[in-house]
C-alpha cells in the first residue's frame, strides 16, 4: 500500500517538476543560439523571397503549395515548420496558394539585393483548412520561426531546388 501511495505522489509531482525544468532548458537553447538560420544574400542583379510556415497543430496535415500566378507547376510546398528561398529578377511578382475551397494571392515588389519574407498559414475553412499567404518581415520570421527547416528537395521545382540545394 505504501508503494502505491508513493507512486501516486510521484506521479502527481512529476508534471510540476518537469514544468519547472522546462523554461531553464529553453533558456539554455536560446542562449546557445543554436539553429540560427543564416540567409545568404541573393546573387548579383537578383532579389529573393523567403517563404515560410510556422509549426503547429492546426492544418498540420495540409501542405501550402506556392505557385506563380497563372502557372501550373508549383514553386514548392510548405509543410509545417518549413521554409524555402526563391531567387527572382527584380520587379513586381505575384504568388498564389491553392487549397480545396479557395485560393489566396500576394504581389510583392522584389528589389535587387534584398530578401523579402512571406508567411503561409492554414486558416479555418468549412470543409478543410485554407492556405493563406501574407507579407512578413525578417523580425517576424525570426521571432515566430524558432527552428526553421528547409523544405525537402522533392517538394521543390527544379529552379527553387537549384537555389536551396546547390
Amino acid at each position: 500500500m505504501k508503494k502505491l501511495i508513493a507512486a501516486a505522489i510521484f506521479a502527481a509531482a512529476a508534471p510540476l517538476a518537469l514544468t519547472g525544468a522546462a523554461p531553464a532548458a529553453l533558456a539554455q537553447a536560446k542562449a546557445a543560439g543554436e539553429g540560427e538560420l543564416t540567409i545568404p544574400a541573393p546573387p548579383p542583379g537578383k532579389g529573393q523571397v523567403l517563404f515560410y510556415r510556422t509549426g503547429g497543430l492546426s492544418g498540420a496535415a495540409l501542405g501550402c503549395a506556392v505557385f506563380d500566378v497563372g502557372a501550373e507547376d508549383k514553386l514548392s510546398s510548405l509543410d509545417a515548420g518549413k521554409y524555402f528561398v526563391l531567387v527572382s529578377d527584380p520587379g513586381p511578382r505575384s504568388f498564389t496558394v491553392k487549397s480545396l475551397e479557395t485560393k489566396d494571392a500576394l504581389t510583392l515588389e522584389i528589389e535587387e539585393g534584398e530578401t523579402q519574407f512571406v508567411r503561409c498559414k492554414i486558416k479555418t475553412g468549412f470543409m478543410s483548412g485554407r492556405a493563406d499567404i501574407g507579407p512578413s518581415t525578417e523580425t517576424e520570421f525570426r521571432t515566430k520561426h524558432k527552428n526553421p527547416k528547409l523544405v525537402d528537395a522533392e517538394d521543390m521545382s527544379a529552379a527553387v531546388k537549384a537555389t536551396n540545394y546547390p
Binding site: L106, T124, F126, R130, D132, P135, T139
Partner: protein
Amino acid sequence: MPAPPEATVEGAAPAAEAATETRADPAPAEPAPAGLLLPRTTPLIIAIEKELGSKISLTGETFPIRLVKAVSVEGVEVLPAGITGQGEVVHAKKAGLAGAAGELVLAARYLDLGERRIALRSFRFMEAGEIALGKGQDNTGVSNVTTALAGPIGFFIGGGNTNVLPGTIANARTRNDELFERPAAQAAAPADPQVATREENP
C-alpha cells in the same frame, strides 16, 4: 517613368578606370568629376501624404509622398526636404473571415526635383511599425482554436485591417546613381565626399 540620366551617370564614373587604359599618346590627367554623385541605394526618409489602408486602398493606386530629410553630398544640398513624388500600392487585400489579416504592400516610385525625376526603390515602413502597418491584426490562431472548441463559429471571426495615416514616415532608397552640378564656389575646392541628410524644418 522616364529613363534616368544615363549620360550624366556615366560621366560620374571614377577617373581611375579611364586612367588604367593604355594610351599611345600621353594625355593630360583627367580632371575630377565636375558633379556631385548621389550613389544608388542612398537611404531617404519620406512621408506618405494620403490615408491608405488594406480596406480602402486598391492595388495599382498611386499616392503622394514627400521627402522629409534633405540630402546633401559633400556639404551641398542636392535633394531639399519637402520635394514631392509618387508611390504605388503594390498589393492591398481586405481582412477576411477565419481571422485573415488585411494586407498592404507599398512601393516608392519617384521624387520630382524640378523637371528631373529621381527614381526610388526599397520602400519600408520604419522598423517599429513595420509589422503593424504592412499587415492588420491576425486572428487566424483565435479562429482556429475557436473552431476546435466551439465548431464552425470560429470561421466567422474576422481579422483586422491596417491603416496608414497621412504623415506616416517610411524609408526608401535611390534607384540609380544621380549626378548633380557642383556649385561654382565649390568646384575649386571640393569638400569631404560624404552624403548627409538634414531634417525638414516645419
